[in-house]
Amino acid sequence: MRRLDLAVLRRRPGASRDPLMVAAGIVLGLLCLLALVAALVPFAGSPTEISGPRLSPPSWEYPLGTDSLGRSLLPRLLEGIGVTLVVSATAVLITAVLSTAIGIVAGYAGGWLRETVMRVVDVLYAFPAIILAILVAAVLGAGRVATVSAIVLVTVPLMVRMIAAQAATVAHRDFVTSARISGVRLPVILYRHILSGVGGTLAVQGTYALSVGILVEGGLSFLGQGVQLPQSSLGLLVQEGAVYMVAAPWLLFAPAAVLVASILSITVIGDTLRDRLEPREVRSLA
């Protein structure tokens, strides 16, 4: 639903040590660390155990209160961070691998191969993200597999397009041409020259895809098509919390704050990466 911002690239000169980037990195790192530690050592308690009274406000025993089944929210939030990040990151990793393979080959080869790939990508790109995601969930059945597949299908088109464009540009550079003339084998050219040439694009697009992934997961959970119960995710917690906004605002605001903080951090990191890594050539039209 939110891949609009991916469509336009820019470059900005002289983005060196940026306090905003540092802050974003710290926030994201902290969230990852918390989720990881909680997954290894359940220091905050069990995310599924029904232990307390329903909808009780934050207290010493339940630092973020309890949900509508009487489960402590804190361990559920920690689990949710982990699930959301793992689901999105897995999806983005798959997207990155797929897009790189497809994009480099299509971009380097050009011609009808590139045209075919681009037309397929066009078709996928034509669906609004959330609609594509809901369709995938409806076909595969709600759950992790569907969520990951949905995020991949949503993020692949743009990344393939970017990488193919970048690869096509690099392919016509002098050093690639001379490598070809001097008899370097194709896989080596692709690996050594093209892959390194698209690295920057990959990093930037991957970061943005991560935030898109989190939004897609959230949107799917909100519509009841997200992860399987009793697992939690940030989107699911927000959806559950929204129901109880009046009586138990902590149920909404805690996960919502974490969700917004992670998307914001990722966006900031993406912006900074773009400033540093994005080569001039792809600047014009996306």
């Binding site: 599924t48 909808l55 406000p57 209160g65 089944l69 709600a142 759950g143 138990a248």
Partner: protein, 538 residues
């Protein structure tokens, strides 16, 4: 449009919200009975006429369109009941009151004679005749609708004279009047249907208090008052809008701001969420109940073992289930809905006395190999997911690993009902409980209810009890059959009743006052809407 004129400054909104967020009280605010059998009664002093808007959670959605005889869901029954009238109606104590029949007699166990109200007329101005009544019942009995399975062993219907209709049953059937009291048995304009003047699937022509003006699927219904209605003088609502609003939160907002006079909620916590909103919240005890299917028909399934099924059944603590997932607004029930007269006591069920440790022991003794079991729920009713998580915890404690699968409705029915044997281990769902304890028990006989054949076996003893429950009319004997029936269902543990499905209704007292029964059998919170009284905006 009901738009408040007072615009509050943005800063004010924010400030008020922040202060409003402080309190976290979650006390149920359900009303006690104000009169025996009633949670609310209409205020006789309100005499103004006017339009009323009501919001409900989902729309009637029937393959048979507007044909009441093919209606399968409670929502359709409520809506169709605004236009069509039945021969008899149920009262707040599940007794029977005159409807289109002014009186009825039962000369013997299998014969009913109804005297019809000749002052009734359809909204096209034609008077009701005995032929409409006889034709309707014949059509219902011969039809393919679900209600054909509830109307009982109707053998023939004959008209005795201009005012009397006689129904002959082939065997005694005690729930007959209760079955006649629901909208699918509403009396249709048979003359117009047979002559082809009216297509009952796309238009409505009834004798009831309202006339359907328009229906836009999933959006709204508009009804106007039927001026030719027998008791038109009692109807003060001139125009009735029923808006379909899918999100609970939106309906809550509408009730709070006064966009709707009445709304129902699927989340029991609406009771506490709207406690201080100016709306009055009610929790209706419904005969509807949630069940868990434990599929013993799949090949090589450990659940083929009745002992294991029973142990799983016994491991589910109904009261804890109600407390956690339904805010304590529900209660355990056997297969005869516990709020109906003569129903069995769920506390006496064999599974009820086993306890958590006992159940764990039974599971171990059954030789269950620890293979995880799946538990299916559909995601259009979120509380099923909540219940599944509680059951998962309870079974976990008893040594059984459960995987919850949330499916959309179609995928759920595909695996639970359409595939035979069903492609699942356990599944949650609910049945309407109807107005007589024997009625819903018929779904436990797969020979009557074909849809149960995917997960329930056909058992001679159980089928015998189900027939007996329907045929027995003497109250004490009935009660005994019900108890035996409940125990047998409990022991087979294929389709296991759990807890009642509460009906949460909110009323804006500044807009409308109406009767609301404490107990409801057909999920019809709109039952007393025709006699509801708009409050003048004065």
């Amino acid at each position: 449009m009901n738009v408040r004129q007072s615009c509050t400054a943005a800063a004010g909104i924010l400030a008020l919200t922040l202060t409003g967020c402080g309190g976290g009280g979650a006390e149920p605010a359900a009303q006690a009975e104000v009169e025996p059998g009633y949670l609310a009664v209409a205020d006789d002093t309100a005499t103004a006429e006017g339009p009323v808007t009501v919001q409900v959670d989902y729309d009637s959605q029937e393959d048979g369109g507007l044909d009441p005889q093919l209606a399968t869901t409670a929502r359709s029954w409520s809506l169709f009941g605004l236009v069509y009238e039945t021969l008899v109606t149920v009262d707040a104590e599940f007794g029977f009151q005159p409807g289109l029949a002014t009186s009825w007699e039962q000369p013997d166990e299998t014969t009913y004679i109804f005297t019809i109200d000749t002052s009734a007329q359809f909204s096209n101005g034609r008077a009701l005749t005995v032929d409409d009544v006889a034709g309707t019942l014949e059509r219902l009995k011969d039809g393919v609708g679900v209600w054909a399975g509830q109307i009982g062993p109707v053998d023939s219907v004959e008209t005795l004279d201009d005012t009397r209709v006689q129904v002959n049953l082939s065997e005694p059937y005690t729930p007959f009047l209760a079955a006649l009291a629901n909208s699918p048995a509403g009396i249709l304009p048979m003359e117009e249907i047979e002559s082809g003047q009216v297509d009952i699937a796309t238009e409505m022509l009834g004798t009831g208090p309202f006339v359907m003006e328009s229906h836009r699927q999933d959006q709204n219904w508009v009804f106007s008052r039927h001026d030719g209605y027998r008791h038109a003088g009692d109807v003060l609502i001139t125009e009735l809008r029923v808006d379909i609003v899918g999100e609970d939160a939106t309906r809550q907002a509408a009730l709070r701001e006064g966009s709707t006079a009445l709304a129902n909620f699927s989340n029991v916590d609406a009771l506490s969420l709207l406690a201080n909103s100016g709306a009055t919240m009610y929790s209706q005890q419904q005969s509807d109940f949630y069940y868990i299917l434990i599929n013993g028909l799949r090949e090589d399934s450990p659940l083929n073992d009745q002992d294991l099924r029973f142990a799983l059944n016994a491991a589910i603590d109904r009261q804890a289930l109600s407390n956690s997932a339904l805010a304590g607004e529900s209660a355990p029930t056997g297969v005869t809905p516990s709020n109906l007269p003569g129903a069995c006591d769920p506390a006496d069920l064999p599974s009820a006395g086993v306890g958590a440790e006992g159940a764990a022991g039974l599971i171990e003794a059954s030789g269950y190999d620890g293979e995880p079991l799946d538990l299916l729920v559909y995601n259009s009713e979120p509380v099923l997911g909540q219940m599944a998580q509680v059951i998962q915890q309870q079974l976990e404690a008893a040594g059984v690993t459960v995987n919850i699968e949330q499916l959309d409705t179609a995928a759920y029915y595909e695996r639970t009902h359409s595939t035979v044997p069903g492609n699942f281990d356990m599944a949650l769902g609910w049945y309407a409980g109807y107005g007589d304890p024997a009625m819903v028990t018929r779904w436990w006989n797969p020979d009557i209810a074909g849809f149960s054949a995917a997960f329930a076996g056909s058992h001679e003893d159980l089928n015998g009890l189900i027939d007996q429950a329907a045929a027995e009319s003497e109250p004490a004997a009935r009660e005994q059959v019900f108890t035996e029936l409940c125990h047998t269902v409990d022991e087979y543990s294929e389709m296991v009743p759990l807890v009642h499905r509460p009906g949460i209704v909110g009323l804006n007292p500044d807009l409308l006052t109406m009767d609301l029964a404490a107990n409801e059998g057909y999920g019809d919170f709109l039952r007393y809407l025709p006699t509801a009284r708009p409050v003048s905006a004065g």
